[in-house]
Protein backbone atom coordinates (compact mmCIF):
# COMPACT_ATOMS: atom_id res chain seq x y z
CA UNK A 1 0.00 0.00 0.00
CA UNK A 2 1.58 3.31 -0.98
CA UNK A 3 2.10 5.80 1.83
CA UNK A 4 2.71 9.52 1.56
CA UNK A 5 4.36 11.14 4.56
CA UNK A 6 4.02 14.86 5.21
CA UNK A 7 6.86 15.95 7.49
CA UNK A 8 8.29 19.27 8.61
CA UNK A 9 11.61 17.53 9.33
CA UNK A 10 11.66 15.66 6.07
CA UNK A 11 15.34 14.71 6.07
CA UNK A 12 14.55 11.96 8.57
CA UNK A 13 11.98 10.01 6.51
CA UNK A 14 14.09 10.59 3.41
CA UNK A 15 17.16 9.04 5.04
CA UNK A 16 15.09 6.17 6.39
CA UNK A 17 13.84 5.28 2.90
CA UNK A 18 10.24 6.47 2.94
CA UNK A 19 9.14 6.48 -0.69
CA UNK A 20 6.86 9.49 -0.90
CA UNK A 21 7.82 12.40 1.36
CA UNK A 22 6.06 15.74 1.21
CA UNK A 23 7.70 18.78 2.78
CA UNK A 24 5.65 20.22 5.65
CA UNK A 25 5.99 23.78 6.93
CA UNK A 26 7.12 23.78 10.56
CA UNK A 27 6.83 21.44 13.52
CA UNK A 28 4.22 23.75 15.05
CA UNK A 29 2.09 23.68 11.90
CA UNK A 30 3.07 20.96 9.52
CA UNK A 31 0.26 21.24 7.00
CA UNK A 32 -0.39 24.96 7.14
CA UNK A 33 1.00 28.41 7.82
CA UNK A 34 -1.07 30.72 10.05
CA UNK A 35 1.21 33.63 9.18
CA UNK A 36 -0.41 33.73 5.74
CA UNK A 37 -3.83 34.73 7.06
CA UNK A 38 -6.85 32.44 6.92
CA UNK A 39 -7.57 32.52 3.17
CA UNK A 40 -4.05 31.97 1.91
CA UNK A 41 -3.38 29.50 4.74
CA UNK A 42 -6.33 27.43 3.54
CA UNK A 43 -5.03 27.50 -0.03
CA UNK A 44 -1.61 26.38 1.22
CA UNK A 45 -3.12 23.62 3.31
CA UNK A 46 -5.02 22.33 0.28
CA UNK A 47 -1.82 22.43 -1.71
CA UNK A 48 -0.01 20.30 0.88
CA UNK A 49 -2.74 17.70 1.17
CA UNK A 50 -3.37 17.52 -2.59
CA UNK A 51 0.34 17.04 -3.24
CA UNK A 52 0.35 14.15 -0.80
CA UNK A 53 -2.74 12.55 -2.33
CA UNK A 54 -1.49 12.96 -5.88
CA UNK A 55 1.84 11.41 -4.97
CA UNK A 56 0.00 8.22 -4.06
CA UNK A 57 -1.14 7.84 -7.65
CA UNK A 58 2.34 8.23 -9.09
CA UNK A 59 4.30 5.15 -10.00
CA UNK A 60 7.85 5.70 -8.81
CA UNK A 61 11.19 4.01 -9.28
CA UNK A 62 13.13 6.19 -6.83
CA UNK A 63 11.93 7.90 -3.63
CA UNK A 64 10.14 11.21 -4.07
CA UNK A 65 10.66 14.37 -2.02
CA UNK A 66 8.02 16.90 -3.01
CA UNK A 67 7.69 20.58 -2.18
CA UNK A 68 3.97 21.43 -2.29
CA UNK A 69 4.72 25.00 -3.36
CA UNK A 70 6.50 23.70 -6.45
CA UNK A 71 3.89 21.17 -7.52
CA UNK A 72 0.88 21.80 -9.73
CA UNK A 73 -2.16 20.73 -7.70
Amino acid sequence: MPIAMISALYSVPVSLGVNRVIKGARIEHVCGNPALGSERDRAYRLQVVRTALQSLTRAISTPLLLDPTQEAT
Binding site: A8, L9, Y10, S11, V12, S15, L16, K23, A25, R26, I27, E28
Partner: protein
Protein backbone atom coordinates in the same frame (compact mmCIF):
# COMPACT_ATOMS: atom_id res chain seq x y z
CA UNK B 1 43.31 34.37 26.54
CA UNK B 2 45.16 32.96 29.50
CA UNK B 3 43.27 31.34 32.35
CA UNK B 4 44.85 30.04 35.52
CA UNK B 5 42.65 27.58 37.41
CA UNK B 6 43.58 26.87 41.02
CA UNK B 7 42.11 23.68 42.45
CA UNK B 8 41.22 23.26 46.11
CA UNK B 9 40.28 19.59 46.59
CA UNK B 10 37.53 18.88 49.09
CA UNK B 11 37.59 15.47 50.67
CA UNK B 12 34.96 16.20 53.27
CA UNK B 13 32.43 18.84 54.22
CA UNK B 14 31.51 19.65 57.81
CA UNK B 15 29.18 22.20 59.31
CA UNK B 16 31.01 24.43 61.78
CA UNK B 17 31.49 27.91 63.10
CA UNK B 18 33.27 29.60 60.21
CA UNK B 19 32.99 28.99 56.49
CA UNK B 20 36.48 28.12 55.30
CA UNK B 21 38.62 25.64 53.37
CA UNK B 22 41.52 24.11 55.22
CA UNK B 23 43.64 21.24 53.98
CA UNK B 24 40.86 19.49 52.10
CA UNK B 25 38.09 20.10 54.60
CA UNK B 26 35.35 22.53 53.65
CA UNK B 27 33.67 23.91 56.75
CA UNK B 28 30.34 25.64 56.29
CA UNK B 29 28.79 27.95 58.84
CA UNK B 30 25.26 26.99 57.98
CA UNK B 31 23.43 29.85 59.76
CA UNK B 32 24.84 32.85 57.86
CA UNK B 33 24.93 30.90 54.61
CA UNK B 34 21.22 30.08 54.80
CA UNK B 35 20.35 33.57 56.10
CA UNK B 36 21.99 35.03 53.03
CA UNK B 37 19.80 32.91 50.78
CA UNK B 38 16.68 33.75 52.80
CA UNK B 39 17.33 37.48 52.22
CA UNK B 40 15.70 36.88 48.85
CA UNK B 41 12.07 36.95 49.93
CA UNK B 42 11.09 34.89 46.91
CA UNK B 43 12.67 31.93 48.73
CA UNK B 44 10.17 30.63 51.29
CA UNK B 45 12.32 27.88 52.70
CA UNK B 46 15.83 26.58 52.27
CA UNK B 47 17.92 23.76 53.61
CA UNK B 48 21.48 22.65 53.00
CA UNK B 49 22.23 18.97 53.46
CA UNK B 50 25.43 17.10 52.75
CA UNK B 51 25.01 13.82 50.90
CA UNK B 52 28.08 11.59 50.72
CA UNK B 53 28.77 9.03 47.99
CA UNK B 54 27.63 5.60 49.09
CA UNK B 55 24.83 6.87 51.29
CA UNK B 56 21.49 5.27 50.59
CA UNK B 57 19.97 8.58 49.60
CA UNK B 58 18.05 9.99 46.68
CA UNK B 59 17.69 13.68 45.84
CA UNK B 60 14.70 14.50 43.66
CA UNK B 61 13.55 17.59 41.76
CA UNK B 62 17.17 18.09 40.77
CA UNK B 63 17.58 21.08 38.46
CA UNK B 64 21.32 21.47 38.22
CA UNK B 65 24.63 20.37 39.71
CA UNK B 66 27.18 23.16 40.09
CA UNK B 67 30.90 23.06 40.84
CA UNK B 68 31.83 26.00 43.07
CA UNK B 69 34.10 28.16 40.92
CA UNK B 70 34.85 31.83 41.37
CA UNK B 71 36.89 34.43 39.53
CA UNK B 72 39.51 35.76 41.96
CA UNK B 73 41.47 37.94 39.56
CA UNK B 74 40.75 39.38 36.16
CA UNK B 75 37.68 40.40 34.19
CA UNK B 76 34.25 38.91 34.42
CA UNK B 77 32.77 36.22 36.62
CA UNK B 78 32.32 32.48 36.49
CA UNK B 79 28.96 31.26 35.17
CA UNK B 80 28.56 34.61 33.37
CA UNK B 81 25.36 36.07 32.01
CA UNK B 82 22.88 33.75 33.66
CA UNK B 83 20.53 34.98 36.39
CA UNK B 84 21.65 38.56 35.90
CA UNK B 85 25.36 37.88 36.34
CA UNK B 86 27.94 39.96 34.48
CA UNK B 87 28.06 39.31 30.73
CA UNK B 88 31.68 40.35 30.52
CA UNK B 89 33.75 37.88 28.48
CA UNK B 90 35.06 35.13 30.72
CA UNK B 91 38.08 32.88 30.28
CA UNK B 92 41.04 34.93 31.50
CA UNK B 93 42.62 35.87 34.80
CA UNK B 94 42.50 33.48 37.73
CA UNK B 95 39.66 31.16 38.72
CA UNK B 96 39.58 29.09 41.88
CA UNK B 97 37.55 25.89 42.10
CA UNK B 98 36.52 23.50 44.85
CA UNK B 99 36.88 20.02 43.40
CA UNK B 100 35.20 16.89 44.70
CA UNK B 101 32.15 18.79 45.84
CA UNK B 102 29.07 19.96 43.99
CA UNK B 103 25.99 21.97 44.80
CA UNK B 104 22.83 20.11 43.87
CA UNK B 105 20.04 22.56 43.14
CA UNK B 106 16.70 21.04 44.10
CA UNK B 107 13.57 23.17 44.05
CA UNK B 108 9.84 23.01 43.51
CA UNK B 109 10.14 24.93 40.24
CA UNK B 110 9.57 23.49 36.78
CA UNK B 111 11.52 25.04 33.93
CA UNK B 112 8.59 26.14 31.81
CA UNK B 113 5.07 25.03 31.03
CA UNK B 114 5.42 22.53 28.26
CA UNK B 115 7.08 19.37 27.07
CA UNK B 116 10.25 18.47 28.93
CA UNK B 117 9.90 21.48 31.19
CA UNK B 118 9.05 19.28 34.12
CA UNK B 119 11.35 18.08 36.87
CA UNK B 120 12.27 14.48 36.30
CA UNK B 121 15.84 14.35 37.44
CA UNK B 122 17.01 12.64 40.56
CA UNK B 123 20.38 11.54 41.89
CA UNK B 124 21.04 8.31 43.76
CA UNK B 125 24.13 8.30 45.91
CA UNK B 126 24.31 4.52 46.18
CA UNK B 127 23.55 1.59 43.96
CA UNK B 128 23.61 1.32 40.17
CA UNK B 129 22.31 4.88 39.74
CA UNK B 130 25.32 6.27 41.57
CA UNK B 131 27.72 4.24 39.46
CA UNK B 132 26.19 5.47 36.25
CA UNK B 133 26.47 9.19 36.79
CA UNK B 134 29.44 11.31 37.86
CA UNK B 135 27.49 12.95 40.71
CA UNK B 136 27.54 9.62 42.50
CA UNK B 137 31.20 10.12 43.37
CA UNK B 138 31.03 13.74 44.48
CA UNK B 139 30.24 15.20 47.87
CA UNK B 140 26.80 16.55 47.07
CA UNK B 141 25.75 19.66 48.92
CA UNK B 142 22.01 19.57 48.41
CA UNK B 143 20.44 23.01 48.35
CA UNK B 144 16.75 22.29 48.76
CA UNK B 145 14.66 25.34 47.98
CA UNK B 146 11.01 26.20 48.24
CA UNK B 147 10.20 29.18 46.02
CA UNK B 148 7.00 31.23 46.26
CA UNK B 149 4.45 30.57 43.55
CA UNK B 150 3.12 34.12 43.68
CA UNK B 151 5.56 35.27 41.00
CA UNK B 152 5.96 34.29 37.36
CA UNK B 153 7.53 30.96 36.49
CA UNK B 154 10.54 32.62 34.90
CA UNK B 155 11.15 34.63 38.04
CA UNK B 156 10.85 31.48 40.14
CA UNK B 157 13.55 29.90 37.99
CA UNK B 158 15.69 33.01 38.38
CA UNK B 159 15.31 32.83 42.18
CA UNK B 160 16.14 29.12 42.46
CA UNK B 161 19.13 29.03 40.15
CA UNK B 162 20.35 32.40 41.39
CA UNK B 163 20.40 31.07 44.95
CA UNK B 164 22.45 28.05 43.88
CA UNK B 165 24.96 30.23 42.01
CA UNK B 166 25.18 32.59 44.98
CA UNK B 167 26.00 29.64 47.22
CA UNK B 168 28.64 28.54 44.71
CA UNK B 169 30.22 32.01 44.91
CA UNK B 170 30.05 32.07 48.73
CA UNK B 171 31.78 28.72 49.08
CA UNK B 172 34.41 29.17 46.38
CA UNK B 173 35.26 32.67 47.65
CA UNK B 174 36.75 31.31 50.88
CA UNK B 175 39.78 30.38 48.76
CA UNK B 176 40.33 33.88 47.36
CA UNK B 177 43.43 34.71 49.39
CA UNK B 178 44.70 31.16 49.69
CA UNK B 179 47.34 29.46 47.59
CA UNK B 180 45.85 26.58 45.62
CA UNK B 181 47.45 23.17 46.24
CA UNK B 182 47.54 22.74 42.49
CA UNK B 183 46.98 24.96 39.53
CA UNK B 184 46.81 24.66 35.80
CA UNK B 185 47.31 27.27 33.11
CA UNK B 186 45.00 27.13 30.13
CA UNK B 187 46.40 28.95 27.14
CA UNK B 188 46.30 28.02 23.46
CA UNK B 189 49.94 28.82 22.78
CA UNK B 190 51.08 29.04 19.15
CA UNK B 191 52.28 25.64 18.05
CA UNK B 192 53.83 23.70 15.21
CA UNK B 193 52.00 24.72 12.05
CA UNK B 194 51.98 21.15 10.77
CA UNK B 195 49.68 20.02 13.56
CA UNK B 196 46.08 19.55 12.41
CA UNK B 197 43.60 22.07 13.72
CA UNK B 198 40.68 20.55 15.61
CA UNK B 199 37.52 22.26 16.83
CA UNK B 200 35.04 21.09 19.42
CA UNK B 201 31.43 21.58 18.37
CA UNK B 202 28.94 21.37 21.22
CA UNK B 203 25.26 21.18 20.35
CA UNK B 204 22.88 22.49 23.01
CA UNK B 205 19.13 22.13 23.05
CA UNK B 206 17.23 25.39 23.26
CA UNK B 207 14.00 25.46 25.27
CA UNK B 208 12.58 28.13 22.97
CA UNK B 209 10.58 25.72 20.88
CA UNK B 210 8.79 23.87 23.66
CA UNK B 211 8.41 26.83 26.02
CA UNK B 212 7.43 29.43 23.44
CA UNK B 213 9.70 31.85 25.29
CA UNK B 214 12.93 33.60 24.39
CA UNK B 215 13.96 33.66 28.04
CA UNK B 216 13.02 30.26 29.44
CA UNK B 217 15.42 28.87 32.01
CA UNK B 218 17.76 26.20 30.62
CA UNK B 219 21.35 25.36 29.73
CA UNK B 220 22.53 28.73 28.41
CA UNK B 221 25.40 30.48 26.67
CA UNK B 222 26.17 33.64 28.64
CA UNK B 223 22.63 33.38 29.98
CA UNK B 224 20.92 33.10 26.60
CA UNK B 225 18.77 30.05 26.01
CA UNK B 226 17.02 31.20 22.86
CA UNK B 227 17.73 29.80 19.40
CA UNK B 228 20.74 31.72 18.13
CA UNK B 229 23.22 31.31 15.30
CA UNK B 230 26.40 29.42 16.21
CA UNK B 231 28.66 30.85 18.89
CA UNK B 232 32.43 30.94 18.56
CA UNK B 233 33.84 30.40 22.05
CA UNK B 234 37.34 30.06 23.43
CA UNK B 235 37.62 26.83 25.47
CA UNK B 236 38.55 28.98 28.49
CA UNK B 237 35.06 30.45 28.36
CA UNK B 238 33.64 26.94 28.80
CA UNK B 239 36.01 26.34 31.73
CA UNK B 240 34.66 29.50 33.34
CA UNK B 241 31.08 28.31 32.93
CA UNK B 242 29.98 30.40 29.93
CA UNK B 243 27.84 27.39 29.02
CA UNK B 244 25.85 26.67 32.14
CA UNK B 245 22.36 26.40 33.46
CA UNK B 246 19.72 24.08 34.82
CA UNK B 247 17.90 21.65 32.59
CA UNK B 248 15.47 18.79 32.91
CA UNK B 249 15.57 15.16 31.93
CA UNK B 250 17.49 12.57 33.76
CA UNK B 251 20.47 12.79 31.53
CA UNK B 252 20.67 16.49 30.81
CA UNK B 253 24.02 18.16 31.01
CA UNK B 254 24.78 19.97 34.23
CA UNK B 255 26.77 23.11 34.89
CA UNK B 256 29.27 20.84 36.62
CA UNK B 257 29.73 18.77 33.46
CA UNK B 258 30.44 21.74 31.20
CA UNK B 259 33.25 23.16 33.37
CA UNK B 260 34.70 19.65 33.66
CA UNK B 261 34.04 18.78 30.01
CA UNK B 262 36.31 15.83 29.18
CA UNK B 263 36.44 16.76 25.49
CA UNK B 264 37.70 20.27 26.25
CA UNK B 265 40.23 19.02 28.78
CA UNK B 266 41.49 16.25 26.48
CA UNK B 267 41.83 18.54 23.47
CA UNK B 268 43.69 21.05 25.65
CA UNK B 269 46.02 18.30 26.82
CA UNK B 270 46.75 17.38 23.22
CA UNK B 271 47.27 20.96 22.08
CA UNK B 272 50.76 21.46 20.77
CA UNK B 273 51.42 17.72 20.84
CA UNK B 274 49.15 15.95 18.39
CA UNK B 275 46.74 18.72 17.49
CA UNK B 276 46.22 22.42 17.42
CA UNK B 277 43.04 23.05 19.47
CA UNK B 278 41.46 25.68 17.29
CA UNK B 279 38.47 26.59 19.42
CA UNK B 280 34.89 25.75 20.32
CA UNK B 281 31.65 26.26 18.47
CA UNK B 282 28.31 26.06 20.25
CA UNK B 283 25.11 25.60 18.28
CA UNK B 284 21.55 25.60 19.55
CA UNK B 285 19.30 22.78 18.52
CA UNK B 286 15.58 22.20 18.21
CA UNK B 287 14.84 24.68 15.48
CA UNK B 288 11.39 23.86 14.19
CA UNK B 289 11.95 23.95 10.47
CA UNK B 290 14.15 21.75 8.28
CA UNK B 291 15.92 24.65 6.54
CA UNK B 292 16.68 26.35 9.88
CA UNK B 293 18.29 23.16 11.12
CA UNK B 294 20.35 22.81 7.97
CA UNK B 295 21.33 26.48 8.08
CA UNK B 296 22.72 26.06 11.61
CA UNK B 297 24.67 23.03 10.44
CA UNK B 298 26.11 24.79 7.39
CA UNK B 299 27.06 27.88 9.38
CA UNK B 300 28.74 25.80 12.09
CA UNK B 301 30.77 23.97 9.45
CA UNK B 302 31.66 27.26 7.77
CA UNK B 303 32.86 28.65 11.11
CA UNK B 304 34.99 25.54 11.64
CA UNK B 305 36.45 25.99 8.17
CA UNK B 306 37.21 29.67 8.81
CA UNK B 307 39.04 28.58 11.97
CA UNK B 308 41.20 26.42 9.74
CA UNK B 309 39.90 23.16 11.17
CA UNK B 310 40.73 19.89 9.48
CA UNK B 311 39.08 17.93 12.27
CA UNK B 312 36.08 18.32 14.57
CA UNK B 313 34.66 16.53 17.59
CA UNK B 314 30.90 16.89 18.01
CA UNK B 315 28.75 16.25 21.07
CA UNK B 316 25.13 17.05 21.82
CA UNK B 317 22.96 17.08 24.90
CA UNK B 318 19.44 16.04 23.94
CA UNK B 319 17.79 13.48 21.75
CA UNK B 320 14.75 13.65 19.56
CA UNK B 321 14.73 15.99 16.60
CA UNK B 322 17.65 17.92 18.12
CA UNK B 323 19.74 15.21 16.53
CA UNK B 324 18.96 16.48 13.05
CA UNK B 325 21.07 19.62 13.58
CA UNK B 326 23.85 17.44 14.94
CA UNK B 327 24.01 14.90 12.12
CA UNK B 328 23.66 17.61 9.48
CA UNK B 329 26.59 19.43 11.10
CA UNK B 330 28.60 16.22 10.72
CA UNK B 331 27.60 16.07 7.06
CA UNK B 332 28.36 19.76 6.44
CA UNK B 333 31.80 19.47 8.07
CA UNK B 334 32.68 16.32 6.14
CA UNK B 335 31.61 17.94 2.89
CA UNK B 336 34.05 20.78 3.62
CA UNK B 337 36.81 18.26 4.13
CA UNK B 338 36.75 18.46 7.93
CA UNK B 339 37.13 14.98 9.38
CA UNK B 340 34.45 14.74 12.03
CA UNK B 341 33.97 12.45 15.01
CA UNK B 342 30.55 12.20 16.58
CA UNK B 343 30.29 11.20 20.23
CA UNK B 344 26.83 9.83 20.85
CA UNK B 345 24.61 7.50 22.78
CA UNK B 346 22.57 4.95 20.91
CA UNK B 347 18.88 4.16 21.00
CA UNK B 348 18.39 0.97 23.02
CA UNK B 349 17.38 -2.14 21.08
CA UNK B 350 13.85 -2.26 22.50
CA UNK B 351 13.11 1.07 20.81
CA UNK B 352 13.05 -0.82 17.49
CA UNK B 353 14.47 1.83 15.27
CA UNK B 354 17.86 2.67 13.85
CA UNK B 355 20.50 3.33 16.50
CA UNK B 356 20.60 6.94 15.33
CA UNK B 357 17.52 8.92 14.34
CA UNK B 358 18.94 9.98 11.00
CA UNK B 359 21.87 7.82 9.91
CA UNK B 360 23.57 9.95 7.25
CA UNK B 361 26.30 8.34 5.21
CA UNK B 362 28.81 11.09 5.92
CA UNK B 363 28.98 10.08 9.59
CA UNK B 364 31.80 7.57 9.23
CA UNK B 365 33.53 8.07 12.58
CA UNK B 366 31.25 7.58 15.54
CA UNK B 367 32.18 6.92 19.15
CA UNK B 368 29.32 5.35 21.04
CA UNK B 369 28.86 5.79 24.77
CA UNK B 370 26.38 2.95 24.82
CA UNK B 371 22.70 2.77 25.60
CA UNK B 372 22.90 4.18 29.09
CA UNK B 373 23.15 1.02 31.07
CA UNK B 374 25.75 -1.73 31.33
CA UNK B 375 23.67 -4.46 29.79
CA UNK B 376 20.55 -5.05 27.77
CA UNK B 377 18.69 -5.75 30.99
CA UNK B 378 16.95 -2.95 32.75
CA UNK B 379 19.04 -1.41 35.45
CA UNK B 380 17.02 -1.65 38.64
CA UNK B 381 17.46 1.04 41.25
CA UNK B 382 16.76 -0.01 44.82
CA UNK B 383 14.70 2.02 47.26
CA UNK B 384 16.89 4.56 49.04
CA UNK B 385 16.72 4.81 52.81
CA UNK B 386 16.36 8.58 52.68
CA UNK B 387 15.00 11.14 50.25
CA UNK B 388 15.63 14.86 49.87
CA UNK B 389 13.83 17.44 47.81
CA UNK B 390 10.30 16.12 47.54
CA UNK B 391 7.98 13.27 48.39
CA UNK B 392 7.19 12.13 44.87
CA UNK B 393 8.71 11.98 41.46
CA UNK B 394 7.73 11.21 37.89
CA UNK B 395 7.32 7.51 37.25
CA UNK B 396 8.65 7.75 33.72
CA UNK B 397 10.47 10.43 31.83
CA UNK B 398 7.60 11.20 29.49
CA UNK B 399 4.48 11.12 31.67
CA UNK B 400 4.69 13.90 34.22
CA UNK B 401 1.23 13.14 35.58
CA UNK B 402 2.26 9.66 36.73
CA UNK B 403 3.81 10.04 40.14
CA UNK B 404 5.37 7.56 42.50
CA UNK B 405 6.84 8.05 45.95
CA UNK B 406 10.37 9.43 45.83
CA UNK B 407 11.76 6.41 47.63
CA UNK B 408 10.20 3.88 45.29
CA UNK B 409 12.46 1.35 43.64
CA UNK B 410 12.79 2.10 39.95
CA UNK B 411 12.79 -0.82 37.61
CA UNK B 412 14.48 1.11 34.86
CA UNK B 413 17.40 3.45 34.75
CA UNK B 414 18.89 5.06 31.73
CA UNK B 415 21.50 7.74 31.74
CA UNK B 416 22.77 9.31 28.55
CA UNK B 417 26.50 9.77 28.65
CA UNK B 418 26.90 12.76 26.36
CA UNK B 419 30.52 13.67 27.05
CA UNK B 420 32.31 10.45 27.85
CA UNK B 421 32.09 10.59 31.64
CA UNK B 422 30.73 7.07 31.98
CA UNK B 423 32.57 4.24 33.61
CA UNK B 424 31.42 1.23 31.66
CA UNK B 425 33.93 -0.49 29.44
CA UNK B 426 33.42 -1.66 25.88
CA UNK B 427 33.40 -5.21 27.19
CA UNK B 428 30.47 -4.51 29.48
CA UNK B 429 28.60 -2.84 26.65
Amino acid sequence: MRLEVGTFPVRDVVFGSRTRWDDGILTIDRGPVLDRIRRDNRILDVDLVLARPGESLRIVNVRDVIEPRVKVRGPGVTYPGICGRSIETAGSGVTHRLSGVAIVESANVVFYDGNDGWLDRFIDLAGPGAEAAPCGSLLNLCLVLKVTDEISLEERNHAAHGAALDLSDTLARVTTDLTPPSKEVFELAPCDSSLPKVVYITCLRSPQHYSGSLTASWMSVYGLTRLTPPWHLHPNELLDGAISGPASSHSATTSWTMVNNPIVLDLYGDHGRQINFAGCIAIRTRWSEQSEKELTALQAAKLAQLLGASGAVITYDAGGNDFIEVIHTVRACERLGIKTVLLTTETPPEAEGPPLLEPLAEAVAIVSTGIGRPSLERLALPSPARVLGGSELMATASKPWERIPSNAPMDFHRWSDHYGLGCESAFEY
